[in-house]
Amino acid sequence: MSVITAITLAACPKARAGIKTLWAANCAQVDTLTFNATREITAITMVVATPANVFKRIDFEENTAFFNQAKVRNKSAVNVTQTISFVEPGLSNTVRNALEDLNGNCCLHVIVLDNSNNYHYAGISFDIESEEWSSDKMKTGEGSSNTNTDPTADQAEYIETVVGNSVFYAPFWTLGDAGIPV
């Protein structure tokens, strides 16, 4: 492909840092993703034979989470490492078990709502020439459970990450909150 598309700066772009919410599902629940001509996801086909397994919402402490997509070029190839990091304040059996369950999935799809109200669909690679997509086997990465030390300055918390390698930045999801099967 040898196309160059112009980039025009908006007068006041929506560029607020951070993420608001995550939704995660096991890859096996997603049968098909439909893309439009502008490479956005316009439909999702779910396997609903086991209805308990759909996207699960993951809330976290405000302004602690990020979605980073680090691009590197390796000779003629491009790789984007997608990392989602979030903090769960306080240590509890409920959150511990939820994190253990999340860690039990070796292939995740994650929808990320950022603080500029963009929805990113992480954990897949989309080939624009063949118009085919595949799962990236995104899974949890490094994390911690930490009581911390100073009650006047710190808090006890879990930190969790979800990491995957994709062919490019995550495509955008057009169905909003209402279209996420939870």
Binding site: A37, V47, L175, G176, G179, P181
Partner: protein
């Protein structure tokens, strides 16, 4: 003689079909500005979102989805004589 029991426009909503007909598959997509659930099978599906039961897709729903966006032609086949709004001028 015309069938007076048929609703107006019924002729335009015949012949749409889901390309992948399979029980246990549900697509979440849009019909106009509304998010809708498209059942690919012939049986009701209990979809957990807000306790919905998703019935097999009607012709009206298939047409509404198909007309919404060109990408939905990957999901639904329209009758040959149907022209969606996104096909106007093509």
């Amino acid at each position: 003689m015309a069938d007076v029991t048929a609703p107006q426009g019924a002729e335009q909503t015949k012949g749409f079909k889901v390309l992948r007909q399979q029980d246990g598959l549900v697509t979440i997509c849009k019909a106009g500005k509304k998010v809708v659930f498209l059942n690919h099978g012939s049986k009701d599906v209990d979809f957990p979102t807000k306790g919905n039961t998703v019935r097999p897709a009607s012709q009206e729903l298939l047409k509404a989805i198909y007309d919404t966006d060109e990408s939905y032609a990957q999901l639904i086949e329209a009758p040959k004589d149907h022209k969606a709004p996104w096909q106007q001028g093509k």
